[in-house]
Amino acid sequence: MAQPMLKKDDDRDDEVDYHPFFGIEKGAVLQEARVFNDPQIDPRRCSQVITKVLYILNQGDTLTQIEGTEVFFSVTKLFQSKDPGLRRMMYLMIKELSPSAGEVIMVTSSLMKDMNSKTDMYRANAIRVLSRIIDGTILAQIERYLKQAIVDKNPVVASAALVSGIHLLQTSPEVVKRWSNEVQEAVQSRASLVQFHALALLYQIRQHDRLAVTKLVTSLTKGSVRSPLAQCLLIRYASQVIRESGVNQAGERPHFDYLESCLRHKAEMVILEAARAITELSGVTSRELTPAITVLQLFLSSSKPVLRFAAVRTLNKVAMTHPLAVTNCNIDMESLISDSNRSIATLAITTLLKTGNESSVDRLMKQITNFMADIADEFKIVVVDAIRSLCLKFPLKYRSLMNFLSNILREEGGFEYKKAIVDSIVTLIRDIPEAKEIGLFHLCEFIEDCEFTYLSTQILHLLGNEGPRTSDPSKYIRYVYNRVILENATVRAAAVSTLAKFGALVDSLKSRIFVLLRRCLFDSDDEVRDRATLYLKVLGGEAVVGETEKETNEFLFGSFDIPLVNLEASLKNYEPSETPFDISSVPREVRSQPLAEKKAPGKKPTGPAGPTSGPVVSAIDAYEKLLSSIPEFAAFGKLFKSSAPVELTEAETEYAVSVVKHIYDGHVILQFNCSNTIPEQLLENVTVLIDASEAEDFAEVYTKPLRSLPYDSPGQTFVAFEKPDGVPAVGKFSNILKFIVKEVDPASGDVDEDGVEDEYQLEDLEVTYADYMLKVPVSNFRNAWEGMDPESERVDEYGLGARESLAEAVNAVISILGMHPCEGTEVVPNNSRSHTCLLSGVFIGNVKVLVRLSFGISGPKEVAMKLAVRSDDPDVSDKIHEIVASG
């Protein structure tokens, strides 16, 4: 009720004249409300006026603060009346007006009197009204009465007090927690609703005490709970306990027997609650599932839509994880396809699609075709998604499923729906090679009459990539060129690019494509003309890009794998000069955002366009600037990678030191960021003495000391090492911070002349293989993988020994390799027994590396891993294996 509603007179005009509130107006009603102030109260009339005010509020109108206060005060006068009906309406009115703290005081005494009245109805309602409007101080005054009311022999009063307790727990938990003895007593009540409310309150009081909850559940599951609602609550609490305690040694869960016994309860809501609780147990076995599935199956043929819906919805969820357990219900499900409730029918169909076997696909598709016409788009999308996963499950059935998709693609539908269909077809084209040509053909048909620019351009792009490699590329040209004639500028530009791809990749078509492209030179849109000109020049050999044809194609159609933010940053830094902007100088590294990723583990990595990568890019730039400003380092060449800072000291010690490893082709620079945390000291001539005896390949070449390190102003010292060119040398370094300490008077800032030489032990530092690996994402792992030379592939298997979990093993391998996880595959779903993880990166020497990891976990948590590597250089593939073998 935030803002006042406009008068609804217009709406009311067309209502029929018997409407008792016809023409009602707020102003007039508020006038009428003056009758509350009459010395002789007419209860009947007052009730009517209250109803009118409530009606106005209920229709969405609001009272201003002044109006509200006025009404509130006149309503309080009505406490003089003894009429019970009027009193009830007053209670409603007071709750609805939600008075301010100052106004509440006006009614508390009257309400407290009602709370102790002999009439149960007054007591119950006064409690509910009071608990709704009071604050902590008044609560303290009435606490005693509320405690009594909880154990009142009248169930209505007890329930009112308990429900109020649940509400008050939000605002004054410490008060309500003191009532737990009374609440405990109320749990034993014979009145069913009292039991329900008491159980709810008791659990909320104790919910943070696991032991208490376990005790509560254990004692109540023995069978003193009668009310179905309370039983449902108890099932929820019991499954909470099960979730927290897991499976015991004998493979049994505590309270499972209780859940199972609830499946035989006489109330349907309890049966449903128990069945759902069982299906949602983590790692539920098929033996545990069977009884729950059986009762749900019975519900499927119920005459009540609600029951059918509840059952089919639960089974649908089960089918995602345990499709086999649900197959028994398939016959009942099929009869639900014609259910008059479309939600039920959709759920039934998607369940069937998940559980169906190969032979039933054709029959199902026939049934679905009839059904699709009369459901809403949102349901259709669900069905399309289900069909896509079905097709991936049974690739042999692609023909009928693809046909189905193309049929529905032709029918009416909104953007989301069409997009779902197109996405599905694209997925099928990608994953089922046999389906490619049919799929492309259907998509061609679709763009002939497609009103969505986004979809048209997507499809044109796909056609350009896939079309030239089909058996008869020429048949697509007509569809593509039609776009140039018929569509808007965006689509035309996309079509020109697609045409050019055909021309570049299919020699036999080249001359004919040129004819088409030349026609595009007269297009009304700049972008279209520009594209056509570029393609004509480059493909026609007039302008030369690169030396071979392959390079030309790479230039025109290659994937653009430079993160756009990095490109933007580099372009901003570029100052116009003799040397042209070199795109290969743009850093490709995308720093992962560990924090963001941890917060949202289920989500896909934000990828190159993540906004947080902006400042990180500048950090790399900053390093590069800093290092190139030191003449000794200028000759080292181009910086390959800078690691994240590694702390070499504990937090809150005298001196804080962290190190950044800068990797060059033939050198490694260690940058020590030091800061002095003692105000009484000034450090001078700070260096780090490094013992590289455990790093044989490294030879120290230069140390740049830090001249002075005053309090609270960090500085850097550098140590450079030489290492064999292009070799990923590893090793361990032990470090000592050496410096001269001078006393400082923090008050005056005077520095003592004489210094003392001192040293400070730092933690060891390691250069690992991961330091030589750049995290570089690829946009499409599959394409990139297939684009690599299969000769370079190296496959081997490893036993990783016992691990805490699959996820831990996956993360360990990722961090050893220091590569970029692709397509969100670093996230391992709970309880999965196997997992495939895709990684990409660039190894030192600019060698692109792709890794496919397949993990499996056995019963006693033994993890095995299969590692397949492809890279530009087979030696690097071997190297990766060495890294993993040594890690």
């Binding site: 209860p43 969405g60 019970p84 509910r128």
Partner: protein
Amino acid sequence: MATLPSVKNILVLDSEGKRVAVKYYTDDWPSVSSKLAFEKSVFTKTMKINARNEADIVMFDGHIVIFKFIQDLHFFVTGGDDENELILASVLQGFFDSVGTILRNNVEKRTALENLDLIYLCLDEVVDGGMILETEASVIADKVSSASGLETMAPFSEQTLSQAFAVAREHFARSLLK
């Protein structure tokens, strides 16, 4: 954390989707316009369904809505999409039947508006701040009629003998069915 079964709103709309009586218990719909938009979409999604004998159900936008129609009145109870549908259905049934009892089985828009105070009281007795207070229709109806004391007594006395008899028989039949 295991949660309490809770009701997000109870709606009574007329045959054009306009409000007769509504009660919202959560902040899912913060403004009047979002409430009206919800009512409109729930009404259009369900208006073609024949929910006169059995309560029916629809799920959208993360809500479950159970509904039942009688004459020109449409009753709705909304809950979260992880709620036990049958609990929500029992709330609807309790409210629906108690309104039937109070209006002496003459449930239609006109009588409902004429007895709007009783409908409001019914709403108040079924759910309190989202918590289910009572689902037994006869208990709810008793609480409401005892509350409205004299006011309902007066019309009762005006009934003809045969009407009174019919009501008594109805009550008797109900108590037998339980």
